[in-house]
Protein backbone atom coordinates (compact mmCIF):
# COMPACT_ATOMS: atom_id res chain seq x y z
CA UNK A 1 0.00 0.00 0.00
CA UNK A 2 1.22 3.44 -0.86
CA UNK A 3 -1.03 5.26 1.59
CA UNK A 4 2.06 6.72 3.29
CA UNK A 5 2.24 9.25 0.46
CA UNK A 6 -1.36 10.37 1.05
CA UNK A 7 -1.68 13.99 2.09
CA UNK A 8 -4.13 14.67 4.90
CA UNK A 9 -7.70 14.43 3.63
CA UNK A 10 -8.34 18.05 4.60
CA UNK A 11 -6.02 19.21 1.82
CA UNK A 12 -8.81 19.36 -0.70
CA UNK A 13 -11.67 19.96 1.74
CA UNK A 14 -14.82 17.89 2.05
CA UNK A 15 -17.52 17.57 -0.58
CA UNK A 16 -20.98 18.51 0.62
CA UNK A 17 -23.96 17.26 -1.38
CA UNK A 18 -27.36 17.76 0.24
CA UNK A 19 -27.18 16.21 3.71
CA UNK A 20 -24.00 14.28 2.90
CA UNK A 21 -20.43 15.35 3.60
CA UNK A 22 -17.81 13.25 1.81
CA UNK A 23 -14.14 13.20 2.76
CA UNK A 24 -13.03 12.51 -0.80
CA UNK A 25 -14.11 14.40 -3.90
CA UNK A 26 -13.75 11.24 -5.93
CA UNK A 27 -16.83 9.01 -6.30
CA UNK A 28 -16.04 5.59 -7.72
CA UNK A 29 -18.28 3.09 -9.49
CA UNK A 30 -18.27 -0.60 -8.57
CA UNK A 31 -18.95 -2.03 -12.05
CA UNK A 32 -16.78 -4.00 -14.48
CA UNK A 33 -14.01 -5.18 -12.14
CA UNK A 34 -12.44 -8.59 -12.84
CA UNK A 35 -13.10 -9.74 -9.27
CA UNK A 36 -14.68 -8.45 -6.09
CA UNK A 37 -11.23 -8.52 -4.47
CA UNK A 38 -9.78 -6.28 -7.17
CA UNK A 39 -12.71 -3.93 -6.77
CA UNK A 40 -12.25 -3.72 -3.00
CA UNK A 41 -8.56 -2.95 -3.33
CA UNK A 42 -9.13 -0.35 -6.07
CA UNK A 43 -11.82 1.42 -4.00
CA UNK A 44 -9.45 1.52 -1.06
CA UNK A 45 -6.60 2.96 -3.11
CA UNK A 46 -8.83 5.58 -4.73
CA UNK A 47 -9.43 7.12 -1.31
CA UNK A 48 -13.16 7.41 -2.09
CA UNK A 49 -15.70 7.16 0.72
CA UNK A 50 -18.69 7.15 -1.63
CA UNK A 51 -19.28 4.43 -4.22
CA UNK A 52 -22.03 3.92 -6.76
CA UNK A 53 -24.06 0.73 -7.10
CA UNK A 54 -26.74 -0.48 -9.52
CA UNK A 55 -30.07 -2.21 -8.83
CA UNK A 56 -30.71 -5.46 -10.71
CA UNK A 57 -32.82 -8.59 -10.48
CA UNK A 58 -31.55 -11.10 -7.96
CA UNK A 59 -30.20 -14.12 -9.84
CA UNK A 60 -32.51 -16.77 -8.52
CA UNK A 61 -30.90 -19.68 -10.36
CA UNK A 62 -27.20 -19.02 -9.76
CA UNK A 63 -27.06 -19.66 -6.01
CA UNK A 64 -23.26 -19.60 -6.05
CA UNK A 65 -23.03 -16.04 -7.35
CA UNK A 66 -21.59 -13.85 -4.64
CA UNK A 67 -23.59 -10.79 -3.81
CA UNK A 68 -21.85 -7.43 -4.09
CA UNK A 69 -22.86 -6.82 -0.49
CA UNK A 70 -20.65 -9.74 0.61
CA UNK A 71 -17.67 -7.88 -0.88
CA UNK A 72 -18.28 -4.34 0.38
CA UNK A 73 -18.00 -3.04 3.93
CA UNK A 74 -21.17 -0.98 3.94
CA UNK A 75 -20.25 0.62 7.27
CA UNK A 76 -17.26 2.23 5.57
CA UNK A 77 -18.76 3.55 2.35
CA UNK A 78 -21.75 5.73 1.62
CA UNK A 79 -23.51 3.92 -1.20
CA UNK A 80 -24.94 5.95 -4.07
CA UNK A 81 -27.53 3.81 -5.87
CA UNK A 82 -28.05 4.62 -9.54
CA UNK A 83 -30.96 4.18 -11.93
CA UNK A 84 -28.73 2.96 -14.77
CA UNK A 85 -30.57 1.09 -17.49
CA UNK A 86 -33.75 3.18 -17.24
CA UNK A 87 -35.13 4.95 -20.30
CA UNK A 88 -38.19 6.64 -18.78
CA UNK A 89 -38.89 8.81 -15.74
CA UNK A 90 -41.41 6.29 -14.40
CA UNK A 91 -38.94 3.38 -14.51
CA UNK A 92 -36.19 5.49 -12.95
CA UNK A 93 -38.50 6.41 -10.06
CA UNK A 94 -39.33 2.71 -9.51
CA UNK A 95 -35.65 1.76 -9.44
CA UNK A 96 -34.79 4.66 -7.12
CA UNK A 97 -37.44 3.46 -4.64
CA UNK A 98 -36.13 -0.11 -4.79
CA UNK A 99 -32.63 1.15 -4.08
CA UNK A 100 -33.81 3.22 -1.15
CA UNK A 101 -35.59 0.18 0.26
CA UNK A 102 -32.40 -1.93 0.16
CA UNK A 103 -30.18 0.82 1.59
CA UNK A 104 -32.70 1.57 4.34
CA UNK A 105 -32.52 -2.10 5.33
CA UNK A 106 -28.72 -1.86 5.38
CA UNK A 107 -28.94 1.33 7.49
CA UNK A 108 -26.59 2.98 4.98
CA UNK A 109 -26.70 6.79 4.81
CA UNK A 110 -27.03 6.47 1.02
CA UNK A 111 -30.72 5.61 1.50
CA UNK A 112 -31.55 9.31 1.23
CA UNK A 113 -30.14 9.91 -2.24
CA UNK A 114 -29.99 8.57 -5.77
CA UNK A 115 -27.85 9.04 -8.85
CA UNK A 116 -30.54 9.65 -11.44
CA UNK A 117 -29.71 8.34 -14.87
CA UNK A 118 -32.45 8.35 -17.51
CA UNK A 119 -30.95 7.41 -20.82
CA UNK A 120 -32.23 8.11 -24.31
CA UNK A 121 -30.26 5.79 -26.51
CA UNK A 122 -28.21 2.59 -26.10
CA UNK A 123 -25.51 3.60 -28.57
CA UNK A 124 -24.58 6.93 -26.99
CA UNK A 125 -25.97 6.32 -23.49
CA UNK A 126 -26.70 10.04 -23.53
CA UNK A 127 -29.26 11.22 -21.00
CA UNK A 128 -32.81 12.08 -22.01
CA UNK A 129 -33.11 15.64 -20.67
CA UNK A 130 -36.93 15.76 -20.68
CA UNK A 131 -37.35 12.48 -18.80
CA UNK A 132 -34.49 13.40 -16.42
CA UNK A 133 -36.22 16.65 -15.43
CA UNK A 134 -39.55 14.80 -14.97
CA UNK A 135 -37.94 12.12 -12.82
CA UNK A 136 -36.09 14.73 -10.76
CA UNK A 137 -39.36 16.49 -9.93
CA UNK A 138 -41.03 13.22 -8.93
CA UNK A 139 -38.11 12.01 -6.83
CA UNK A 140 -37.64 15.35 -5.05
CA UNK A 141 -41.38 15.30 -4.21
CA UNK A 142 -40.84 11.79 -2.84
CA UNK A 143 -38.10 13.04 -0.49
CA UNK A 144 -35.00 11.98 -2.41
CA UNK A 145 -31.81 13.98 -2.71
CA UNK A 146 -31.26 13.68 -6.45
CA UNK A 147 -27.87 13.75 -8.14
CA UNK A 148 -28.59 14.17 -11.83
CA UNK A 149 -26.44 12.67 -14.54
CA UNK A 150 -26.77 15.14 -17.40
CA UNK A 151 -25.21 16.19 -20.66
CA UNK A 152 -22.91 19.23 -20.46
CA UNK A 153 -25.69 21.53 -21.75
CA UNK A 154 -25.80 24.51 -19.35
CA UNK A 155 -29.50 25.13 -20.00
CA UNK A 156 -30.46 21.56 -19.09
CA UNK A 157 -28.17 21.80 -16.06
CA UNK A 158 -30.04 24.90 -14.88
CA UNK A 159 -33.41 23.21 -15.44
CA UNK A 160 -32.31 20.28 -13.30
CA UNK A 161 -31.17 22.55 -10.49
CA UNK A 162 -34.47 24.43 -10.64
CA UNK A 163 -36.29 21.08 -10.47
CA UNK A 164 -34.61 20.52 -7.12
CA UNK A 165 -31.50 18.47 -7.95
CA UNK A 166 -29.06 18.27 -5.02
CA UNK A 167 -26.25 18.15 -7.57
CA UNK A 168 -25.97 18.33 -11.33
CA UNK A 169 -23.41 15.97 -12.81
CA UNK A 170 -22.53 16.86 -16.40
CA UNK A 171 -20.76 14.25 -18.51
CA UNK A 172 -17.28 15.07 -19.76
CA UNK A 173 -17.95 12.73 -22.69
CA UNK A 174 -20.14 9.62 -23.22
CA UNK A 175 -20.20 6.96 -20.46
CA UNK A 176 -17.26 4.58 -20.66
CA UNK A 177 -15.83 6.34 -23.74
CA UNK A 178 -12.63 7.51 -22.04
CA UNK A 179 -12.60 10.68 -24.15
CA UNK A 180 -12.13 13.00 -21.17
CA UNK A 181 -13.62 16.50 -21.05
CA UNK A 182 -14.65 17.16 -24.65
CA UNK A 183 -16.13 20.61 -24.11
CA UNK A 184 -14.52 22.37 -21.15
CA UNK A 185 -16.26 25.60 -22.13
CA UNK A 186 -19.67 24.03 -21.57
CA UNK A 187 -18.56 22.74 -18.16
CA UNK A 188 -17.39 26.29 -17.35
CA UNK A 189 -20.78 27.74 -18.30
CA UNK A 190 -22.54 25.00 -16.28
CA UNK A 191 -20.42 26.04 -13.30
CA UNK A 192 -21.27 29.71 -13.81
CA UNK A 193 -24.99 29.08 -14.09
CA UNK A 194 -25.24 26.55 -11.26
CA UNK A 195 -23.05 28.44 -8.81
CA UNK A 196 -24.42 31.92 -9.48
CA UNK A 197 -25.35 33.30 -6.05
CA UNK A 198 -24.88 29.76 -4.71
CA UNK A 199 -21.12 29.10 -4.78
CA UNK A 200 -21.35 25.93 -2.68
CA UNK A 201 -23.78 24.19 -5.06
CA UNK A 202 -22.01 20.92 -5.91
CA UNK A 203 -21.20 20.20 -9.55
CA UNK A 204 -19.59 16.86 -10.36
CA UNK A 205 -18.18 15.63 -13.65
CA UNK A 206 -19.70 12.20 -14.18
CA UNK A 207 -18.62 10.03 -17.09
CA UNK A 208 -15.99 10.20 -19.79
CA UNK A 209 -12.82 10.04 -17.71
CA UNK A 210 -10.15 7.91 -19.40
CA UNK A 211 -6.96 8.83 -17.57
CA UNK A 212 -5.77 10.66 -14.48
CA UNK A 213 -5.13 13.84 -16.49
CA UNK A 214 -8.86 14.03 -17.23
CA UNK A 215 -9.62 14.11 -13.49
CA UNK A 216 -7.05 16.86 -12.93
CA UNK A 217 -8.41 18.83 -15.91
CA UNK A 218 -11.98 18.56 -14.60
CA UNK A 219 -10.97 19.69 -11.13
CA UNK A 220 -8.98 22.61 -12.57
CA UNK A 221 -12.18 23.87 -14.19
CA UNK A 222 -13.58 24.27 -10.68
CA UNK A 223 -15.94 21.33 -10.42
CA UNK A 224 -16.44 19.96 -6.92
CA UNK A 225 -15.80 16.32 -7.65
CA UNK A 226 -15.45 13.59 -10.26
CA UNK A 227 -17.40 10.34 -10.60
CA UNK A 228 -15.74 7.58 -12.61
CA UNK A 229 -15.76 3.82 -13.01
CA UNK A 230 -14.48 2.31 -16.25
CA UNK A 231 -11.20 4.25 -16.31
CA UNK A 232 -10.09 2.37 -13.20
CA UNK A 233 -11.94 -0.93 -13.66
CA UNK A 234 -10.71 -1.49 -17.22
CA UNK A 235 -7.20 -0.05 -16.87
CA UNK A 236 -4.47 -2.61 -17.46
CA UNK A 237 -3.53 -2.18 -13.80
CA UNK A 238 -6.67 -0.99 -12.00
CA UNK A 239 -4.96 -0.68 -8.62
CA UNK A 240 -2.20 1.61 -9.90
CA UNK A 241 -4.79 3.61 -11.83
CA UNK A 242 -6.84 4.04 -8.64
CA UNK A 243 -3.69 5.55 -7.04
CA UNK A 244 -3.25 7.80 -10.07
CA UNK A 245 -6.85 9.02 -9.87
CA UNK A 246 -6.49 9.86 -6.19
CA UNK A 247 -3.35 11.90 -6.84
CA UNK A 248 -4.86 13.57 -9.92
CA UNK A 249 -7.86 14.69 -7.95
CA UNK A 250 -5.70 16.28 -5.28
CA UNK A 251 -3.41 17.86 -7.90
CA UNK A 252 -6.33 19.26 -9.88
CA UNK A 253 -8.11 20.63 -6.84
CA UNK A 254 -4.99 22.32 -5.46
CA UNK A 255 -4.18 23.69 -8.91
CA UNK A 256 -7.67 25.19 -9.15
CA UNK A 257 -7.49 26.69 -5.65
CA UNK A 258 -4.01 28.06 -6.30
CA UNK A 259 -5.14 30.26 -9.20
CA UNK A 260 -3.40 29.44 -12.44
CA UNK A 261 -1.57 31.99 -14.57
CA UNK A 262 -3.45 33.32 -17.60
CA UNK A 263 -2.65 31.79 -20.98
CA UNK A 264 -0.67 34.17 -23.21
CA UNK A 265 0.15 34.00 -26.88
CA UNK A 266 3.80 35.03 -26.46
CA UNK A 267 6.59 34.04 -24.12
CA UNK A 268 7.58 35.79 -20.90
CA UNK A 269 11.09 35.04 -19.62
CA UNK A 270 11.46 33.29 -16.28
CA UNK A 271 15.03 34.52 -15.75
CA UNK A 272 15.85 38.23 -15.18
CA UNK A 273 16.27 40.24 -18.37
CA UNK A 274 18.70 42.57 -16.54
CA UNK A 275 22.30 41.72 -15.63
CA UNK A 276 22.94 39.54 -18.60
CA UNK A 277 26.65 39.55 -19.58
CA UNK A 278 27.83 41.41 -22.67
CA UNK A 279 26.55 39.32 -25.47
CA UNK A 280 28.13 38.75 -28.87
CA UNK A 281 31.56 39.95 -29.84
Amino acid sequence: MSTATLPPPTTTGTLRIGSHELKSRLIIGTGKYATHEQMGEALERSGADCITVAIRRERLIDAEGRNLLDAIDTSRYTLLPNTAGCFSADDAVRVARLGREILTGLENPGASWVKLEVLADTRTLLPDPIETVKATEQLVADGFEVLCYSSDDPIVARRLKNAGAASVMPAGSPIGSGQGILNPNNIRICLEYLKEGDPDYPVIVDAGVGAASDVAAAMELGVDGVLLNTAIAHATDPLAMADAMRHALIAGRLSYLSGRIPKRLYATASSPTEGVIALGR
Binding site: G31, A54, L68, R97, G99
Partner: protein
Protein backbone atom coordinates in the same frame (compact mmCIF):
# COMPACT_ATOMS: atom_id res chain seq x y z
CA UNK B 1 -51.33 -20.26 -7.97
CA UNK B 2 -49.24 -18.97 -10.80
CA UNK B 3 -46.88 -16.01 -10.30
CA UNK B 4 -44.26 -14.27 -12.34
CA UNK B 5 -40.99 -13.69 -10.47
CA UNK B 6 -38.25 -11.73 -12.21
CA UNK B 7 -39.84 -12.45 -15.56
CA UNK B 8 -40.19 -16.22 -15.01
CA UNK B 9 -43.29 -18.24 -14.24
CA UNK B 10 -43.44 -19.82 -10.80
CA UNK B 11 -45.97 -21.88 -8.85
CA UNK B 12 -46.75 -21.11 -5.21
CA UNK B 13 -49.34 -22.49 -2.81
CA UNK B 14 -52.39 -20.29 -2.43
CA UNK B 15 -52.30 -18.08 0.64
CA UNK B 16 -48.51 -17.83 0.82
CA UNK B 17 -46.92 -14.47 1.60
CA UNK B 18 -44.03 -12.54 0.04
CA UNK B 19 -41.84 -13.64 2.96
CA UNK B 20 -42.74 -17.29 2.19
CA UNK B 21 -41.74 -16.80 -1.44
CA UNK B 22 -38.41 -15.19 -0.51
CA UNK B 23 -37.78 -18.12 1.84
CA UNK B 24 -38.45 -20.58 -0.99
CA UNK B 25 -36.08 -18.63 -3.24
CA UNK B 26 -33.37 -18.78 -0.61
CA UNK B 27 -32.39 -15.14 -0.92
CA UNK B 28 -30.88 -13.06 1.88
CA UNK B 29 -33.90 -10.91 2.66
CA UNK B 30 -31.64 -8.15 3.99
CA UNK B 31 -30.05 -7.79 0.54
CA UNK B 32 -33.20 -7.51 -1.55
CA UNK B 33 -36.15 -5.23 -2.25
CA UNK B 34 -39.45 -6.39 -3.71
CA UNK B 35 -41.78 -4.79 -6.18
CA UNK B 36 -45.28 -6.24 -6.51
CA UNK B 37 -47.15 -5.40 -9.70
CA UNK B 38 -44.85 -2.43 -10.29
CA UNK B 39 -45.25 -0.94 -6.81
CA UNK B 40 -42.63 -1.20 -4.09
CA UNK B 41 -43.73 -3.55 -1.31
CA UNK B 42 -42.01 -2.31 1.87
CA UNK B 43 -40.10 -4.91 3.87
CA UNK B 44 -42.44 -4.50 6.84
CA UNK B 45 -45.30 -5.91 4.73
CA UNK B 46 -43.45 -9.00 3.46
CA UNK B 47 -44.75 -11.28 6.22
CA UNK B 48 -48.33 -10.02 6.08
CA UNK B 49 -48.92 -9.61 2.35
CA UNK B 50 -50.54 -12.70 0.82
CA UNK B 51 -49.86 -13.18 -2.87
CA UNK B 52 -52.59 -13.61 -5.48
CA UNK B 53 -52.89 -15.52 -8.73
CA UNK B 54 -51.14 -13.66 -11.54
CA UNK B 55 -49.06 -11.39 -9.29
CA UNK B 56 -45.90 -10.14 -10.92
CA UNK B 57 -42.88 -9.62 -8.68
CA UNK B 58 -39.45 -8.11 -9.08
CA UNK B 59 -36.86 -9.20 -6.52
CA UNK B 60 -33.81 -6.98 -6.83
CA UNK B 61 -30.46 -6.54 -5.14
CA UNK B 62 -27.35 -4.37 -5.47
CA UNK B 63 -24.77 -5.11 -8.17
CA UNK B 64 -21.65 -3.33 -9.36
CA UNK B 65 -22.39 -0.22 -11.40
CA UNK B 66 -21.19 3.25 -12.19
Amino acid sequence: MRLEVNGEARELETGKTVADLLGDLGVNTNHVAVELNRELLPRAQHTSHALSEGDRLEVVTLVGGG
